[in-house]
Amino acid sequence: MLLIDCPFCGKRPEVEFRCGGEAHIARPANPFAVDDQAWGEHLFVRKNPRGLHAERWIHAHGCGRWFNAIRDTYTDRFVETYKAGERPSVDLSEARA
């Protein structure tokens, strides 16, 4: 069971959280401006990296806030967590594939 550092509550056990998948996928401001291909990708295509991954979590059985995390999907180690709307301090483009 992971130990997750909620930006509001500190380190808490995974069972209090729900994972919301890949982070920083912005909903297009005007969905009708994108074609079916792009809309399909928005809905379904995910990076799914082996390595650093920006993902969404909600401290559902805690403070109830959504936040983001950078986790290495190979080691399952969290590099950082940060509030929704903020950017991570690590550069994900350098993350190992």
Partner: protein
């Protein structure tokens, strides 16, 4: 809401449950209480609310547990419910907030005794040690398969477990089972 106005009989979910007193941990149901869920973004300067997440402002009769950056569980004796509501409305009058009566949504159970924390840890994955969960702590968490708000209102080994009413039978049963297991060395 003032009880005097009500003609209908009130039936609490754990009304029939007698206190369970075991050697090292005891489980009691607590009487009805006025409670509100307060949601607000800005509470600066409001003494009863402006404290860290996970901490509780406590007076003799009322409490305000900060469960998150914008969420508080407020409590008062049944008869003080309207006053509490008015107080919050006054204090936050110029700001955006949501105040919702949840007096009947929540049920409180108390577990106390030297093994109270250990019993809670049968289902609650948090560190309840003196350093990690001192007097005045409160947080939403889990007890087995039920979500609860766990509060520690005093320095004594006494914990208040609040859950939604339909989970009360489960939470109560869980605590009794846990208290009896914890009592066994």
């Amino acid at each position: 809401m003032l009880e005097a106005r009500n003609l209908a009989r009130r039936v609490a979910p754990l009304v029939a449950e007698a206190p369970v007193v075991l050697e090292r941990a005891s489980v009691h149901t607590l009487p009805a209480h006025a409670r509100f869920s307060l949601r607000a973004r800005d509470v600066s300067g409001v003494e009863t609310l402006d404290h860290p997440i996970g901490r509780t402002w406590l007076s003799e009769k009322r409490f305000a547990a900060r469960l998150g950056p914008d969420e508080w569980l407020l409590g008062a004796p049944e008869s003080d419910g309207d006053l509490l509501q008015q107080g919050i409305e006054r204090a936050l009058s110029s700001r955006f907030f949501s105040l919702v009566d949840i007096s009947h949504r929540n049920v409180a159970i108390e577990i106390s005794g030297p093994a109270a924390a250990e019993a809670l840890n049968a289902g609650c994955p948090l560190d309840l040690s003196e350093a990690a969960f001192p007097n005045g702590s409160a947080t939403r968490t889990l007890l087995g398969k039920a979500e609860i708000v766990l509060a520690r209102p005093s320095a004594a080994p006494v914990y208040r477990v609040e859950c939604w009413r339909s989970f009360a039978t489960y939470a109560h049963g869980f605590l009794i089972e846990a208290a009896s297991s914890a009592s066994f060395r």
